[in-house]
Symmetry: D4
Subunit: 251 residues, 8 copies
Amino acid sequence: MVNRHMQDIRKLLENVQDGSVKIDEALQKLKDLPYKDIGIAKIDHHRELRNGYPEVIYCEGKRVEHIRQIVEVMLEKGNNVLATRASREMFEAVKEISETAQYHEVPRLITIKNKEIVLSDSVIAVVTGGTSDIPVAEEAAVTAEMLGNKVERVYDVGVAGIHRLFGNLDKITQAKVIIAVAGMEGALASVVGGLVDKPVLAVPTSVGYGASFNGLSALLTMLNSCASGVSVMNIDNGFGAGYMASMINKL
Amino acid sequence: MVNRHMQDIRKLLENVQDGSVKIDEALQKLKDLPYKDIGIAKIDHHRELRNGYPEVIYCEGKRVEHIRQIVEVMLEKGNNVLATRASREMFEAVKEISETAQYHEVPRLITIKNKEIVLSDSVIAVVTGGTSDIPVAEEAAVTAEMLGNKVERVYDVGVAGIHRLFGNLDKITQAKVIIAVAGMEGALASVVGGLVDKPVLAVPTSVGYGASFNGLSALLTMLNSCASGVSVMNIDNGFGAGYMASMINKL
Amino acid sequence: MVNRHMQDIRKLLENVQDGSVKIDEALQKLKDLPYKDIGIAKIDHHRELRNGYPEVIYCEGKRVEHIRQIVEVMLEKGNNVLATRASREMFEAVKEISETAQYHEVPRLITIKNKEIVLSDSVIAVVTGGTSDIPVAEEAAVTAEMLGNKVERVYDVGVAGIHRLFGNLDKITQAKVIIAVAGMEGALASVVGGLVDKPVLAVPTSVGYGASFNGLSALLTMLNSCASGVSVMNIDNGFGAGYMASMINKL
Amino acid sequence: MVNRHMQDIRKLLENVQDGSVKIDEALQKLKDLPYKDIGIAKIDHHRELRNGYPEVIYCEGKRVEHIRQIVEVMLEKGNNVLATRASREMFEAVKEISETAQYHEVPRLITIKNKEIVLSDSVIAVVTGGTSDIPVAEEAAVTAEMLGNKVERVYDVGVAGIHRLFGNLDKITQAKVIIAVAGMEGALASVVGGLVDKPVLAVPTSVGYGASFNGLSALLTMLNSCASGVSVMNIDNGFGAGYMASMINKL
Amino acid sequence: MVNRHMQDIRKLLENVQDGSVKIDEALQKLKDLPYKDIGIAKIDHHRELRNGYPEVIYCEGKRVEHIRQIVEVMLEKGNNVLATRASREMFEAVKEISETAQYHEVPRLITIKNKEIVLSDSVIAVVTGGTSDIPVAEEAAVTAEMLGNKVERVYDVGVAGIHRLFGNLDKITQAKVIIAVAGMEGALASVVGGLVDKPVLAVPTSVGYGASFNGLSALLTMLNSCASGVSVMNIDNGFGAGYMASMINKL
Amino acid sequence: MVNRHMQDIRKLLENVQDGSVKIDEALQKLKDLPYKDIGIAKIDHHRELRNGYPEVIYCEGKRVEHIRQIVEVMLEKGNNVLATRASREMFEAVKEISETAQYHEVPRLITIKNKEIVLSDSVIAVVTGGTSDIPVAEEAAVTAEMLGNKVERVYDVGVAGIHRLFGNLDKITQAKVIIAVAGMEGALASVVGGLVDKPVLAVPTSVGYGASFNGLSALLTMLNSCASGVSVMNIDNGFGAGYMASMINKL
Amino acid sequence: MVNRHMQDIRKLLENVQDGSVKIDEALQKLKDLPYKDIGIAKIDHHRELRNGYPEVIYCEGKRVEHIRQIVEVMLEKGNNVLATRASREMFEAVKEISETAQYHEVPRLITIKNKEIVLSDSVIAVVTGGTSDIPVAEEAAVTAEMLGNKVERVYDVGVAGIHRLFGNLDKITQAKVIIAVAGMEGALASVVGGLVDKPVLAVPTSVGYGASFNGLSALLTMLNSCASGVSVMNIDNGFGAGYMASMINKL
Amino acid sequence: MVNRHMQDIRKLLENVQDGSVKIDEALQKLKDLPYKDIGIAKIDHHRELRNGYPEVIYCEGKRVEHIRQIVEVMLEKGNNVLATRASREMFEAVKEISETAQYHEVPRLITIKNKEIVLSDSVIAVVTGGTSDIPVAEEAAVTAEMLGNKVERVYDVGVAGIHRLFGNLDKITQAKVIIAVAGMEGALASVVGGLVDKPVLAVPTSVGYGASFNGLSALLTMLNSCASGVSVMNIDNGFGAGYMASMINKL
């Protein structure tokens, strides 16, 4: 992105040099290009340039009609769309303007696929401690898929019954990056990090009660992991994990 | 202890009934018996009645001369003594009044053995995540030994290298109670609790830095353990774990 | 459980040795045995091998239809079932597939008794500070009963009116293990631990307001107990206390 | 104090009315009277008017030479002086300007008695959970004595050995106000509050380790006390408790 | 209360001595007297012995039918009743069994006056920072009145407009005890404590938003008050403040 | 305000001097003037004296009928009114007594303009990180406008897409004061503070999830800003920022 | 600063246009100008352009020899220097290279005045609650003076003795901006904010003990101030307050 | 590592099958291979198999003589060694047994290079906000170098002076992975994450004071980053960041 910027500025300087662009115009262009203002929110289009990258909206706390307006602008460009933390009501509104829109009930995602997505050869494994962690794991998995990654799901293999994890180790070992999703004591990330020699993105979830303090316990556990090769996302941030894993998977 | 109280009161009532004890005297006795006042601290002797149970002093924040005075009173009864969180300076002072006193450098304990300690047949396993957890583990282990328990030490088997733990599982499995001592992410207790069908006393330690927040991270991890059969002691409370494990081991 | 594992592996090695099992098959078996995958959650059956041990489901955050599916798989084996944190709606769904299912309103438990439960001779005492702590206490008590333990309930004997506690001390003293359930300042565990020479499992509850911070106050109180022989469960974790107490009671 | 203010203002108004005081002078006087500026700190003298009330200095973080200067100004008036959180070095400096100065090693107090202190008939009881709480308790006790109260000390009667408390209940019951000083789990205040029908000022101390979080645990316990008639001071605030108890004792 | 106990025990001993009471009977009596078990909760009657003292129920988290049962038992004795944190629905249920029951909407209290309450001569002042603090203040005020105290209400005089406080200082100064109720920054207690030479019971409220953290901010402010003569209740604990103030007012 | 007080007191003293006001009357007046008591809340009128300053009500937790009563008193004086954190229901009630009342849906404000507001020449810039921060930003912006300031809105220019911020820098640079509103990581204030040489009032918002801890994360970020010229308001305190910015803008 | 940037870029574009600067050169210049790299730290010189503005170094955690090197570079330009959180040892090293360097013991500042500082007509008042807050207050005051502001110091006028504050109100009222510095309960800012109609920059200090939690209590108090016109700096951030106050004072 | 395990087990099974290994021997081997016990700590050698990977020791809290013993065992194998959080005293002890040992003063690291390290073509950029963050950054950088990565250091480019960051953007953009190290408000990671399309490992540092709460502020900021492609390490965990970055760089 920055490189593109540098090239744009160089081109602009060249245009200034050859007189085809005036100075005031040049100053103006520096501010205008990379976003488009629709009044409610400024939408970046620069990511569309990468193959198959979808536009992303975080729906929490936004109004249904705004979601609809934002999606409309996105669709004009023919891009794929990924809407996170979306209610069914938001989906109904989006459905009216895009027939191909799909709702993923468990992770509360809307996806619209207008361009075909070519999947990577290498795999991202998404692993959860329990069944209650699946909504966050699915947010990560679907995000990674929308970004063009093959995903292997290995759910409900938490450390309290560690033989389950061992029974699935080969699937995890064959991945290039691992997303470990766990609430309560969140020890899964450390155990996986100790067993497998791949980068582990740890996602604490708010699953639990009492002294889990809405995910704080799992968060601290993961930050203090004594296994090397573990880094941590915000509590319940499945999207961020999917995005970061995709970045690493495609390096 | 309570039963002894009840018998004492019954005996007192009988003495009141047969006139051998006067009422004011009876009221007075109810308040006097179970402790002795030496001005600085009130020392309980009732535990000496159990075979081989030592008197215990928590030394942190006490003055060297007070430690000495308290030990002196204890020794009069011929009991064994266990002093926790004791500095070497305190040991020197105690050494002057008891030749048999020993100092345990790592867990900072003073022990005085005046009565022989008969060890249990069943075993308490003390397990640690890392080498830095050993001081707390030794406080637990020596406490358990002073209370008459056979102890199996299994140190440095944390979850980041889980094969170490598996290599020692039979030692752990053969114990009747397990003390799991770990700092940083504290996942050891959950993993052990998931593998072994014995009560696990989890002791978080203040080992770590940053977001370990002086043991808070390990404490929360252990409280949120998804393995059943795990309960938790205060941070760095090796003594408490040794005492509780002994209670359970001798049931 | 671990011992059974070890025996299984030995048998497998013997079969490999005598040629009755092929190597690939052997590698495969190591991963397959101890659980069964129904897509939603992996259910452990290994606990059914212990007499009368129920299968356990934690219902919070699960969907009604999943609860039903999981219970269905469990019932195939003819085991007893204990479902914790279950809503009445979940019970209605379970009732349709099991006539013997019972709902415990106060602790929000579903129990299904298909095998007779033989109770222990020794007793677990469940003690509460106030009446508001009873839901958590009942979760502990019913859990312990489902696991085959005789339970003595001593409710509403908190330290603000300590004579109530004294009036029930003999019941508490006769137990082999004590579960002390209290919210607000949570001092009950310390007082009971100081009076009775038995292991005390302290369960802080989220009962209270203001600076109770949803159970944090009681949790810290119990962790800092100056009485020996007290260890602590997560806030509101009645199930965990019942399970751990059963483990100790049956040693 | 406020009443005295009101009278002063009335007198001033009368003087303005009869012309004996000019308006600018009156405005000036409103701002000048109740304190004297020595550059470093503004010292209130208004409390000297109450019989035997000492001047008070909080020494923490102040420089030795400033303590000395402040005490010098105080002594000019012939008042008694109480300096809290004072180091021995500060005492040595004060000793040079006042022969009657005394140092209380344990609570780190300096007292100077220039006027005789008449003690109250009614008693303030100062109770502690352990021996480590004594420094804070002595700060409370000596403060109360300097303010003219009879003090009954009942130390080391914490709830882990509740029979010690019962053995001293009559001393506590006869007091008009009770100061309950405890660290670790801080349950003492609740138990005393439940037993005795007198106002209890609870002082949490920073005694403890791990999850005592420097007194936070005891503080929360005391704030959540289910016993009525308990209110709470800052952690380690012995002086505040002594002062407040004196106020109540002299009502 | 303890004194009454002591007299009871003395009488019992005398009866044992003269043979009018048997020993087993005596042991039994020690446990039976001071409470009555109705299955749901153990109700103390000993406080009815003090003139006009009401029975108190804390309703939060209790069921409507239990409230009703508890009140029924209380009414049998003809005592006054004070129910705190009561919903209107609870009031309707109580109304059916007691025509004189009154509901106080703002502080959510039910009061039943069966015995006349004689008010004290001395006054308790209840002061609030803002209008949103009034529910907690009224809980304190009505509690104090039910306990037989004259109450002076001075509301909405917070420090942001300190002239309002000065305009009401004489009312506050004439009180024997002051209850200062404030949320947000909670500075009211310090300012009142600095102005008036009477004991101040500070009650932080959960009024505020953002960094008030549900009353934590006001709580810390009050605990750290640099004014002497201030002690602190739990957040929103109007009842506790009213009770403690009554205790002090009647000394 | 204080100067006006001083003049009032001087005038009063002069009246006392010339006998036109009696002393008791003078004492009384000192307490009466600056507010008017309507039973529910004490309303300050002194701010109306400044040109165009509105009366302000904080509606959260107040009852609809009280809001109405308070507004009624305010309207008697013909002042402008600003009601914050107001529900639509409150607006409906106010609308009945003031036809010119307007409801601002997004920031939940009611405004009533009875006097014309003359806007300042200099500008306050209100900048947000995302679109979810707009409600708080609008509370600040409308408050500033009601207080007579010209406001420039620059929304959705957060640091994750820093080119958006650069594209709007000239608008921000031309302001006299800047209000920077951001949730989640709250870095906007630091970046703006580093770029622009004007005072920045940073307002953390509760926007975010997980480790944003309801605005705590943004609050800490802003307090720790390494840019000079940044000070911080309470979480979500748009009103406070608008008021403080107005104060600075009009110096 | 931003405006200067814009002008620089315009000039650069003009040079590109007229061919006097090549494109690669232009791209290079965009990155080079505004700082100078000395290996250890990048020093900004752009602030020297404002009259009398000093260069600033934050010394905490830096090495003595680095401080010296940084100051050397600064002195080459002939600017004034302000070094905060500086030890005496650092001062000695600086003294060797600058004879005019001065050390301010209390706030731990080094100042070097090479250019004359012209003071503003308007005044910044720096107010403290107690004497222990003076080091932070002096950091603010000296910073403001180095930045060319007249400063009025009003120390030790905390709310516990509010008459002291009233005795100094005219000094505070005459200032254009007020810095309120207080630890412990930090109520000073609210009271000042309620009394004076000027912007108040509140600086919490880490003065206090126990539940002051190193300044957290004062910080929360100030953030929750119910007085309008108060914004908050980081704990102990006297420098930041002096800088921000100077910015406002010179608008 | 796991794959190697699987192959080892397969080989073992084959040996059991062909009779060359006995069953008991086979069971024993499963536990023995991957570590060597030296009494103090169990050292893993399995990592030496990867080219140039050093053995790693975390020195904090270990004794000097233990460090020496551990290093001795490591050197026997001829591996490179990296010791983190090492004091100079530890270095002196290590120096005695290895002449090639080097001490890195700033990040407190000991490195021993016995095997040549071949550097990667791709680059890891290590970026810091301020100069005080350099020790943590150097821990990351040297770790990455010991693991065979080319490292580009870009220090002191924090967001308060964002033009410094822009002046170095090309260096950062050309890296394959970026480590962003920052204390105080920690906004650097978000800004870098927003500008550069590469994975960013964010390392909060404990640099700062007051409300930085020893790195908590920076930690929360980074977890809440609104830029995608940012994941977070523990506070001050430079080693972990270097290790994880190396893993990603070598994928």
